[in-house]
Amino acid sequence: MRVLIIDDEEDVRRIAVLSLVNVGKMEVIEAANGMDGVEKARDAQPDAILLDVMMPSMDGPATLAALREEESTRHIPVVFVTARAMSSELSRLRSLGAQGVLTKPFNAMTLPDDLRAILS
């Protein structure tokens, strides 16, 4: 399984990569902004995308919209990543068309399973 993580924060990407690779035995591609993310999604065709909500310039919802506009990335399931755990915020994000929402900080040991649970 190949996962693309789009997050502007290095530490978040680092934890996600180590966890998904070592615990989840997944292949991971990183992108530090929305623009780069859309491009990598097109090229690498991942099975899922972890997408940070709050990023400078192109934020999560905008990136999702761009992914949905592209023929080649439209089908890829997207899971939002946010530090805001309020239920209203979660339902707002889901209503944007994401598969689900994961809250930060991640549990480094359960992240791969949490992701799989959302995708299944």
Partner: protein
């Protein structure tokens, strides 16, 4: 055709309440825009619904129509256009309220509040605050001006600074009182005697400076609404002589008490049950039964055993006193009674019964410790622990959830009912060894002789039960109220302040996490959250990568830059910049498990997102980050 006076009066009160209604709708509307879920939808929907139901009765048909529109819109799917239209409806409501208030017929003029204050700054501030609430104000700087203003046209209420220049305004209260103008006193004088004096002279509330403005506005609203005047204590007079009753009643009423006469001994029991007095004045010589007999009977009833009894007697002789005390009376008064004597005896008895004290704080929660006693008990408990380390105590700080909304929605009388019901609920459901107090406002404190884990268990059960209690507003609307609690165990070497702060912090954490829960305080020294760190340690083992060290280095490397961007945002007063800096900082601290720092950053982020530049909060974040930095470097 002119309307009957009661209707004009009712309309005026309704008009006065309109700005508060607009404010509530605005708040609820904002909440709904931010969180378009069913909870927020229902809150706004029922607010519109109530206004729709009542506006017509006050001939505000257009307002009712707008509210009906809001009611309808809040049933639709909350799409962006619908939310936009809801906002438009609230704007229209606001505009209509403004129109009603400015164009209302002369007879419906806004309630006028007389401000008797010689200090220009305070007076102007007060006028601004009250006028923002839709009230009109009038200022008097001296006694003479105040009296003249009141004689000319009595205002609906007066706010009187007790210290006008160097003279006391107590005399002024005597002049104002006969005009039946509710008086609210503000004063720099904190002496209990002065408060007592002012209450005796009929003031409805006493605020010491610095005044809590919000509280003052609430009080002004309370005296403007009928049936919400500060009720002093409830006094039952059992006396067969109507002249005596006619003499005593106005003296007591003027002192702020509610008086019920009972001139037939046969109905005493019934009157007691229906009136539920705080104090009883008993004539010794009554037909059928003597006052002494009644007192003896009352003392045998658990319900009335603690109610103070004052005997009224015309009998001369030294045996009278002994007889009265033997019968269970607390004091006796010889007829004819002077007003001073009557009030002194009544007040001192009430004071002893612990009721007047709470009355001055406008707090009918009898039986609960007051703020001061609770603080004293906390200190005593800490001292106890220092002498005997094996003793176990927990402190619970409790806050009623969304209490302001209860007050705004159902009125403060209902709000007070909720507070007193929580008070007696706690009192009755905790053990005799546990201490329950009202810390202030809607905050309660409980000291339990139990380890914190057990206290958490107890409180969770209480929360479940209390949340199931149905409260009822004056107009019969049923609702439920929950609370949030923070629990802290008393540790050896902890000071009273630390104990309280630790419980407060847990309470705050519970509120941040969405309220209606009981949180056990984490020990302060644990800067880092094990729930985050444990999996990271596990991952280190699994991957062979020293991830915690990596993250720590990254955190420390980026810290100066984060601090700088926050300071820059603060210096520029740029809320947006602060919001972004706080967001990134929160994420970074969350990743290394720096829980407090992450929580503070989250708080800052939320505040900044609302456009606030909170310098103090930035300061807190920076000092907490210094602590974390130090801990990480070790």
């Amino acid at each position: 055709m002119s309307e009957p006076a009661w209707k004009v009066d009712a309309k005026r009160r309704y008009y006065v309440s309109l700005p508060a209604k607009t404010k509530l709708l605005r708040e609820l509307g904002k909440d709904l825009a931010a969180f378009p879920d069913d909870l927020h939808r229902d809150a706004l929907h029922s607010a519109f619904h109530r206004i729709h139901g009542s506006a017509g009765s006050y001939d505000c048909d257009e307002l009712g129509r707008i509210a009906a529109e809001g009611e309808r819109l809040t049933c639709e799917d909350l799409t962006a256009p619908v939310l936009e239209r809801i906002r438009g409806t609230i704007d229209a409501f606001d505009a209509e309220v403004q129109r009603l208030i400015s164009e209302g017929p002369e007879t419906l003029h806004r309630a006028r509040i007389l401000i008797v204050e010689d200090d220009d700054v305070t007076a102007t501030l007060l006028q601004e605050i009250l006028e923002r609430e839709g009230l009109s104000t009038q200022r008097a700087a001296t006694h003479g001006e105040a009296v003249a203003a009141i004689e000319l046209a009595p205002p609906q209420a007066a706010i009187i600074d007790l210290t006008l220049g160097s003279t006391s305004a107590l005399d002024l209260l005597d002049r104002v009182w006969p005009r039946a103008v509710p008086m609210i006193v503000i004063s720099a004088d904190k002496a209990f005697e002065t408060k007592l004096e002012a209450v005796r002279r009929g003031c409805a509330a006493y605020f010491t400076k610095p005044v809590e403005w919000e509280e003052l506005v609430r009080k002004v609203r309370a005296v403007l609404e009928p049936g919400l005047q500060v009720r002093g204590s409830r006094i039952l007079i059992v006396e067969d002589d109507p002249d005596q009753i006619a003499y005593l009643t106005p003296i007591l009423e003027r002192a702020g008490h509610t008086v019920a006469p009972c001139n037939d001994v046969a109905t005493v029991e019934e009157r007691l049950a229906s009136f539920d007095p705080d104090l009883i004045i008993l004539d010794v010589k009554l037909p059928i039964a003597s006052g002494h007999d009644i007192a003896r009977y009352l003392r045998q009833q658990e319900r009335y055993a603690a109610v103070p009894i004052l005997f009224l007697t015309a009998l001369e002789g030294s045996g009278v006193e002994t007889q009265a005390i033997a019968a269970g009376g607390d004091d006796f008064l010889r007829k004819p009674v002077s007003p001073e004597m009557l009030l002194t005896s009544v007040d001192s008895r009430l004071l002893r019964a612990g009721r007047l004290k709470t009355m001055l704080e406008r707090d009918p929660l009898t039986g609960l410790l007051t703020h001061r006693s609770l603080v004293e008990r906390i200190a005593n408990t800490v001292a106890l622990k220092q002498r005997n380390a094996s003793l176990v105590f927990s402190l619970v700080m409790i806050d009623v959830d969304f209490f302001k909304r209860v007050n705004d929605t159902y009125g403060h009388l209902t709000g007070d009912h909720v507070l007193s019901s929580l008070g007696s609920f706690l009192l009755h459901h905790l053990r005799g060894t546990d201490l329950v107090g009202r810390y202030g406002g809607e905050e309660f404190g409980v000291i339990l002789a139990a380890p914190p884990e057990q206290a958490v268990e107890v409180m969770r059960n209480l929360l479940r039960e209390f949340s199931a209690v149905t409260h009822r507003s004056d107009d019969g609307v049923e609702f439920h109220v929950s609370f949030t609690a923070g629990v802290a165990g008393l540790e050896a070497l902890m000071s009273a302040e630390e104990w309280k702060l630790t419980a407060d912090r847990a309470l705050l954490e519970g509120k941040r996490a969405g309220r209606k829960q009981v949180i056990l305080a984490q020990r302060d020294e644990s800067l880092f959250d094990d729930a985050v760190l444990a999996p990271l340690r596990e991952l280190e083992k699994r991957s062979g990568v020293p991830i915690i060290a990596e993250l720590t280095t990254l955190f420390l490397e980026t810290l100066p830059q984060r601090v700088e961007s926050m300071q820059r945002g603060l210096a520029a007063g740029d809320a947006k910049a602060i919001e972004h800096a706080a967001h990134a900082f929160r994420s970074a601290s969350g990743n290394i498990g720096a829980r407090n720092l992450a929580a503070l950053c989250g708080e800052l982020e939320t505040a900044a997102a609302r456009g606030l530049v909170d310098e103090a909060l930035v300061g807190k974040v920076l000092s907490e980050s210094a602590r974390v930095q130090q801990a990480l470097r070790v």
